[in-house]
């Protein structure tokens, strides 16, 4: 993907701040999305992702800061800027009682398309998002995945420079999620910028660039590779066994272990900083033998994105506490 991106930002946000009363929902966010790039905005619910997205789309005026879409100022030239963006809401926001084609037709009309050009774009939408066979189906009767496809088609009819996808895969089954990411790549390859919000860490790996948000701030950013290479203070051990649940039971009160993350057939143990890993592994194996549990493997593993995210959050909290003190 990096081959096609040409480092020309389609959207730039500078020092974006949004306050609601005394509450600061978004604090000094800077970000830029290039053409052909998939930019992921990560964070838990309430971290400020949606507020940021709403400001980027121009539906919420920022308290301060600027948003520029394809060279157009979002706040001062909202109408022109809106012609450059496409937005796919998390909840289906098209009309359930209208057919697929009627929904697209409406959208084309809202963007002022007419005649042959409109026909071409409608056909493009139906073809490209595989909605042709459902063109006369009521949108409300489509399965969730196809509703999202329709929403994407609607958001792309006017050929925007950037597409915003708010949690595009939430609620979809794994196969549909995979198909969705293929679609997203394909769109990015065609040269538009894509900004995705997600809280699925495994999906975040598919993005070209990531920004992690917490409490209104971007706490870490970079390519997935850069973020994974981020040194984290808490080493990770992975333990494979058939009796993970039992192990988790007696490991729970070991002070060296900060967190136990259960997976199928394995446990990820996040250790306290500066733990002597070798002695911990020895103690663990002895304990397992005493409990009659067979450990298939135990080894240090590189952190995944979630580990990095947690580590970043912890260090952010720590520095906040230090500043407060």
């Amino acid at each position: 993907m990096t081959e096609t991106s040409n480092n020309q930002p389609v959207i730039t946000a500078q020092q974006l701040v949004r306050r609601f009363g005394h509450f600061v929902a978004v604090n000094n966010v800077d970000l830029a999305v290039n053409r052909g790039e998939v930019f992921g905005l990560l964070g838990a619910n309430g971290a400020g992702k949606t507020t940021t997205l709403r400001m980027l789309c121009g539906t919420l005026p920022p308290s301060s800061g600027t948003v520029t879409v394809a060279g157009v100022d979002m706040v001062h030239h909202a109408r022109r800027a809106r012609g450059r963006i496409g937005y796919v809401t998390q909840r289906f926001a098209l009309y359930g009682d209208l057919s697929v084609l009627e929904n697209l037709d409406l959208q084309a009309g809202l963007y002022g398309m007419v005649g042959k050009h409109k026909q071409e774009r409608l056909n493009w939408g139906l073809q490209h998002l595989q909605l042709n066979t459902d063109r006369n189906t009521k949108a409300g009767q489509l399965p969730l995945g196809y509703q999202r496809r329709l929403a994407i088609a609607a958001a792309l009819l006017h050929e925007p420079d950037i597409l915003f996808l708010d949690e595009p895969t939430s609620g979809l089954d794994p196969l549909a999620r995979q198909q969705f990411w293929e679609l997203i790549y394909e769109l990015a390859e065609s040269g538009i910028g894509i900004l995705v919000t997600t809280h699925y860490m495994d999906e975040a790996l598919f993005c070209d660039h990531l920004a992690m948000m917490e409490a209104g701030n971007i706490v870490a950013r970079g390519t997935p590779a850069e973020l994974l290479a981020h040194p984290i203070p808490t080493p990770i051990l992975e333990l494979r066994s058939r009796s993970c649940a039992k192990c988790a039971g007696w490991l729970a009160d070991w002070t060296e272990i900060r967190e136990i993350i259960p997976h199928v057939g394995r446990l990820r143990l996040r250790l306290q900083p500066a733990t002597d890993q070798a002695s911990l592994i020895t103690r663990l194996q002895t304990m397992a033998t005493q409990h009659g549990i067979t450990i298939d493997a135990i080894e240090a593993v590189p952190p995944d994105l979630e580990d990095v995210f947690v580590a970043v959050l912890e260090s952010a909290e720590q520095s906040a506490e230090e500043t407060a003190a």
Binding site: C57, G58, T59, A78, R79, R82, G83, I85, G86, Y87, T89, R91, A93, L94, Y95, G96, D97, L98, E102, D105, L106, Q107, A108, G109, L110, Y111, G112, M113, V114, A151, A154
Partner: protein
């Protein structure tokens, strides 16, 4: 305001309307139901009122009187009582609205010029009781004169202009059109903005270049079209089914109706915008538009007979002006420009509502 965007919104709204059975029913069934209900059910005059007679005297003079009553279209003698108990029972049951007692001494008293008849009325429906009493009084006075063979010293020659036969539906039908319009205009539009807010479609619309003016105009257009069609149907029904004369210019009537429709539909949209959900909006529309159009417009209840407070209240009811205009055009054959006061009131309301609606629609979060 761009025509493309308005057209797209109007078309979409049109699709919604024809897919939703509730709106369809409101659009098509409600107006015809109202027309027929009011056309047939509301009668402010007495036709074939059921009455009973207790005839204690069976001489030719009593029979003659009775024949007179039975010949009138106002009354229908449905019972002949043998005693007071039966009479009481019939009024109690409601089988008769009134009972006339012709006493034993009727013929003898009549010759002496001091005959008395007793009329017992069912006062539960005071209006009908009053009507029956007045009709019968008139009838008996006329009859008494023919017996005398002499002209009374004073005679009232009355002519009821614009409605010679005093048909109450002549006065009702032009008002029913106001009710039909209020239903289409306010009840239907009250749902429309609230629906977008409730179902979250606004979230999507906010990211498009649609402006709030385009949104409102596009949304209201289909209702104005349907309202105009309903108006045509209502006028046709009034003229051809209920034989109400349309004496004034049809175009004048169309003009004031569209103006009224504009006022009520903006009222509905404003309610929708303020309420934010469909249930509350439809209730608010019912209370603030439909009921005032019904009760405070002078449609059935004369405004001059209301307490002063209510009379002032009617000044802000758009239906009041429309009913006056509609009745005048239908029956008096005036052009709306003669009633410039009412016409101006509707115009002022249109402008005011448009301004308030536009200001309030800021809430939608669409482009200005």
């Amino acid at each position: 305001m761009r025509i493309q965007q308005i057209r797209a919104m109007a078309r979409k709204e049109w699709w919604h309307l024809f897919r939703d059975p509730r709106s369809l029913a409101l659009m098509l069934l409600m107006p015809s139901m109202l027309l027929f209900l009011f056309g047939y059910a509301i009668r402010l005059d007495v036709v074939e009122a059921p009455i009973g007679v207790l005839q204690e005297s069976h001489d030719s003079l009593a029979n003659d009187l009775l024949a007179r009553i039975e010949a009138s279209h106002a009354f229908h003698v449905v019972a002949h009582f043998n005693n007071r108990r039966q009479l009481k029972q019939a009024i109690q049951d409601g089988t008769v609205w009134a009972a006339l007692v012709i006493p034993h001494s009727y013929a003898a008293d009549l010759i002496q010029g001091k005959a008395k008849l007793q009329l017992i009325l069912d006062g539960v429906d005071a209006n009908s009781a009053r009507l029956v009493r007045n009709y019968l009084l008139g009838l008996i006075n006329d009859y008494a004169m023919t017996l005398n063979g002499a002209q009374p010293p004073i005679q009232l020659e009355d002519r009821t202009w614009y409605n010679e036969s005093k048909e109450s539906r002549y006065a009702i039908m032009p008002g029913v059109i106001a009710i039909v319009m209020a239903v289409i205009g306010a009840l239907m539009t009250s749902l429309t903005v609230a629906r977008e807010m409730e179902l979250g479609n606004l979230v999507m619309l906010r990211t498009t270049p649609l402006t709030r003016g385009e949104f409102l105009v596009g949304k209201l257009t289909p209702y104005l079209v349907i309202g105009t069609l309903d108006l045509l149907a209502a006028v046709a029904a009034a003229v051809y089914i209920f034989d109400v004369p349309l004496r004034g210019p049809f175009l004048g009537l169309a003009l004031v109706s569209v103006l009224f429709l504009l006022v009520v539909s903006m009222q509905g949209a404003l309610i929708s915008l303020i309420a934010g959900n469909q249930l509350l909006a439809s209730q608010m529309a019912l209370i603030s538009t439909f009921l005032p159009a019904f009760l405070l417009s002078g449609f059935i209840f004369a405004i001059q007979n209301m307490p002063a407070v209510l009379q002032y209240l009617t000044l802000i009811v758009p239906a009041r002006y429309f009913v006056t205009l509609s009745k005048a055009i239908f029956l008096k054959g005036t052009t709306p420009f003669l009633l410039w006061g009412e016409l101006t009131a509707l115009c002022v309301m249109t402008v005011l509502l448009a301004a308030v609606l536009f200001a309030r629609s800021k809430k939608l979060g669409l482009l200005k």
